[in-house]
Amino acid sequence: MNHKLAIDLPGLALKNPVMPASGCFGFGREYSQYYDLSRLGAVIMKAATGTKRLGNPTPRVAETASGMLNAIGLQNPGVDEIIRTEVPFLASYDTNIIANVAGSTIEEYVYVAKQFNNSTDVDALELNISCPNVKEGGIQFGTDAEMAARITDKVKQVSQKPVFVKLSPNVTDIVTMAKAVEAAGADGLSMINTLTGMQIHLPSRKPLLANQTGGLSGPAIKPIAIRMIYEVKQHVSIPIIGMGGIQTAEDVLEFLLAGASAVAVGTANFQNPLVCVEIIDQLPKVLKSYGFKSVNEAIGKGILYDKSNLSCP
């Protein structure tokens, strides 16, 4: 193990800060055919809901400039089936397992969290309050500070596992959201989820995604992710798992400098199934070439607490 890369998050001793992002890696089976999942700091599983969901009609993805839209709609076999068949598979690897918790009602979130809490193989929860593709519940939880705090609190009550709340970038004020869930007991933050976008298919004159709107991810959104992490880091003391457009070890360093303590890689897996391990392999060299001895040393180092140079005459 490369100690330079190791990083401790609440409940998680990560051998390196790199994990695949929720929904972009299924439950790991497919990518396990490309490399040994034990290489990863952690795996964040695809969102789980209380019962099986079939998701949205297709088309569910579209390509955009330096990004993509998705509207999968939380398709998953349900938390109990995931615990029965998927968690044991991932547990056979020497990595951490983070369960992404979703639902349409607070009760559903609490149920899913409770079930994962009973699974000894799950190391932490990622509370997905921000899925823009869930019409009833998710979108409101993720864009209203009070609701976000409430659901965080309820989930914390049933979970001994650390809870990372995944924030939506589709808000006016990300700092308020972050502070609200921190005050409600969140052990960490995950940010950012996708930005709501749309593409219109010219020949059919209709939104290309059957769901009309979808979540924008990929390098296109990286500047927004960096900005939000940078802002939030200055106002909360819980650690941040950063994500949004990461493709290279240099990108990882940018997220660390902005204030993330670990990172998740989503869309880039579709371009290069080996991207996570390639980043892990490159990271020591990149840290060194920019003068850092470890991941830990780089966290938040990009933040200028002195803002005296900010003028707008």
Binding site: G26, G55, F270
Partner: protein, 250 residues
């Protein structure tokens, strides 16, 4: 372990309007490929890979054919011989050739659904099948691989406007086929697949489907198709693109 594979572009041939044939070199891919599987091809400057069917295998080379319809296939059309493509694959489950006994089989292809049927036709013929093909195209200028299919078996060409071969839809010529085919295989646009399935409802058949893809390997759930089994869906990239006709809800 699976790999990201590099394939050298050894030959580029425009073979019909907006249609390009690429011969790619990679012995491993050639050895693994089964008719009906696809390559998930990285296109420079594009976020998502593009799925393209394997149209033929010859020794160490794999042939693909594609139609330039959007920015990805246009970019692909501008590569040069000697360039290298970054691909995943062969991906997906192909046609169930191992289960097919020597018999009369019917292949029905539409447009850019024709390519995978060529490698299938070759393989089935080698297995001792009598292959009859019905190939539909928009107009005369879009017709390709006629000779190749005719070398394998009886072949009907159909064009939408009658500018070449029979005029109309592929289903319009099915009545003309008097041979007692036992199985059919079809690939093409969704309306065609639906029409074929309804027309040949009593014959065992296999359909090869298309859907917009993200990962192309089964991880992102972009490419699902509703199914009649208890699971309720299948992933086209991983459990398809070929399905038994009665399994999928079109």
């Amino acid at each position: 372990m699976k790999k990201v594979r590099l394939m050298h572009v050894s030959k580029i041939t425009p073979i019909a309007t907006d249609t390009i044939e690429l011969v790619l070199n990679n012995a491993e891919v050639a050895q693994l490929a089964i008719p009906g599987q696809f390559l998930h091809i990285a296109v420079p400057g594009h976020t998502l890979r593009r799925p393209i069917s394997i149209a033929n295998v010859n020794g160490d080379t794999v042939t693909i054919l594609f139609k330039t319809i959007g920015s990805g296939t246009k970019a692909l059309a501008s590569i040069n011989e000697g360039d290298v493509l970054d691909v995943l694959g062969p991906n997906g489950n192909g046609f169930p050739i191992d289960t097919i006994k020597p018999s009369i089989v019917l292949l029905i292809g539409g447009g850019i659904g024709v390519p995978p049927l060529y490698y299938l036709a070759k393989t089935l013929k080698r297995k001792g099948c009598q292959v009859i093909s019905v190939l539909g195209f928009q107009t005369k200028d879009y017709v390709f691989y006629e000779k190749q299919f005719k070398a394998i078996g009886k072949t009907y060409i159909v064009t939408d406007d009658g500018s070449y071969g029979h005029k109309g839809l592929v289903t319009d010529v099915l009545d003309d086929i008097t041979e007692p085919f036992e199985t059919y295989f079809s690939c093409g646009p969704l309306p065609m697949l639906k029409a074929v399935r309804d027309y040949l409802s009593v014959t065992p058949g296999y359909l090869s489907l298309e859907e917009r893809m993200g990962c192309g390997i089964g991880a992102c759930y972009a490419c699902v198709i509703p199914t009649n089994d208890k699971n309720g869906y299948k992933k086209i990239c991983q459990q398809g693109p070929v399905f038994k006709s009665e399994v999928v809800k079109l």
